[in-house]
């Protein structure tokens, strides 16, 4: 059986950890040019207390391919990607869940759930639930399918408070919401809105990849300025482990 460290280590060579900074969106860590928030976060709804991307995911590069492939492909290669992504999530949360909780005003999360797919049929067999609910050690005992895609006809890529519905009353529990990719955040924010409607307390999102295009503005230069290989001892919300 592979260990979490050696399997996640395979991704260390191409993962790129976001860090806060003057030209970085204070919500989703997108690169900005002098603005505190990126365009999508300025104009979109904010229902999440904290958003923490583990890595940037650059269009058509390896992490992006893995994050799309574990859902799109099947067979042995898809199963391998699932386990690798579970290892990435495991190693990160084991080290940094407390950082994420503190950034959202607590010490840990009582419940863990995943952002459902916008597409109802696809959501019925979403491999992210296997990653979070079965493979990933730090989350599997707290994982619950708290959200369902509602019957409401809403645009797939846009925010909608009605897109998802809570499966049960959440009675003030803190919830860690996991997703594979953050692009505009519309889906994760829709999920957070539904959790809030269900009565959740603190809600933070950890996403594996913050999606970016390398060709956009200065993204290439910004990405090349990030430390490599990936440093597992640091995270986007508490970069100094001794602080």
């Amino acid at each position: 059986m592979p260990t979490v460290a050696e399997l996640s280590g395979l991704y260390s060579n191409f993962m790129m950890g976001p860090r806060p900074g003057p030209d970085v969106c204070t919500q989703c860590f997108n690169f900005t040019e002098g603005f505190p928030r990126c365009y999508a976060c300025t104009h979109g709804e904010s229902w999440l207390d904290t958003v923490v991307p583990i890595s940037y995911s650059v269009a058509r590069e390896q992490l992006h391919h893995a994050l799309a492939g574990y859902k799109r492909l099947d067979g042995e290669v898809a199963r391998r990607l699932e386990v690798e992504l579970a290892a990435v999530l495991w190693r990160y949360l084991a080290a940094h869940e407390r950082c994420v909780a503190r950034a959202s005003g607590g010490e840990r999360f009582e419940l863990v759930t995943t952002v459902p797919s916008s597409d109802r049929a696809r959501d019925e067999r979403h491999p992210l639930r296997r990653v979070v609910g079965e493979l990933c050690g730090p989350t599997r005992d707290r994982h619950e399918r708290l959200l369902r895609r509602s019957a409401a006809a809403v645009p797939e890529r846009a925010f909608s408070a009605e897109k998802f519905e809570p499966a049960r009353p959440l009675e003030g529990h803190s919830v860690l919401l996991i997703d594979d990719t953050w692009t505009t955040g519309a889906n994760a924010q829709s999920a957070a809105a539904a959790l809030r409607r269900g009565g959740a307390g603190r809600i933070a999102a950890v996403v594996i990849g913050r999606h970016l295009n390398r060709e956009w503005r200065h993204n290439d230069r910004r990405l090349r300025g990030l430390a490599r290989p990936f440093d597992w001892s640091r995270c986007a919300v508490h970069s100094d482990p001794d602080a």
Partner: protein
Amino acid sequence: MPVQDESAALVALLRSGRQPWQLYADLVEEAGSAIAVLERECGEQAGQASLFGDPVRERISRAAAEIEAWSAEGMRVLTVLDPGYPENLRGVHDRPPLVFAAGRLEEGDARSVAVVGARTASARGLGAARSIAEQLVARGFTVVSGLAAGIDTAAHTSALACGGRTVAVIGTGLRRSYPPENAALQRRIAAECAVVSQFWPDAPPSRRSFPMRNAVMSGLTLATVVVEAAHTSGSRMQARLALEHGRPVFLVATLLEHEWAREFSQRPATHVITRAEEITAIVERLTSTGELVA
């Protein structure tokens, strides 16, 4: 729509070459159909094409005739939509939209490791390549290499000699051999196992084709082993590509006499090995997909 038409549509798309090849792998996989992507491109080009016949059908049937001719020569086209497209290669971001195969690729060839190294190799290097190939075969792995002189040839021939499978990934089209001295070995591997190329059958070797070939070789396999290689080699390039694919790299310990290898050995997912058994043990552990341990 028959599968053959999908393959033909992809060949037609690549023949017209309006976008980078790699992008077509994404477009076609996302759409689930090469015909759909071709129709979109033709629509964008021609507008009201129906007045002038059906350019999509025409291009598909021209490409289908090409595929048939290749097939008569013993070359199969495997596209990303084809169930026979190599499994591991699907997992890497820069996979080619199609590959040509001479011979027979088997499902079991997914359990494979690339063994690469210098063309002018020392006796010690050749010996290491042979014993690594033997160990891989003993553990049921297919030995993948690049059909070059030196380390590649030693890996291929040793795998064949002990009754194992070996696959050659070449930097030219399947109708060519580079260097020409390896033509006989290329024929033998095609007859007994498989030779794979991502290039049109007549494509000559070029400066760009060899690094592209190294990316496919890394993508095809679960890991890359570098036996002996200088600073400027394709093997070093392949090691870098393998890490960018999220695949482990093994450096034979004697490589550490080179500055590049000492630097490289510090990177995550890189292992310096002295015994061939270390390779198979690590690859087997990393690719057993059942569960994880802390």
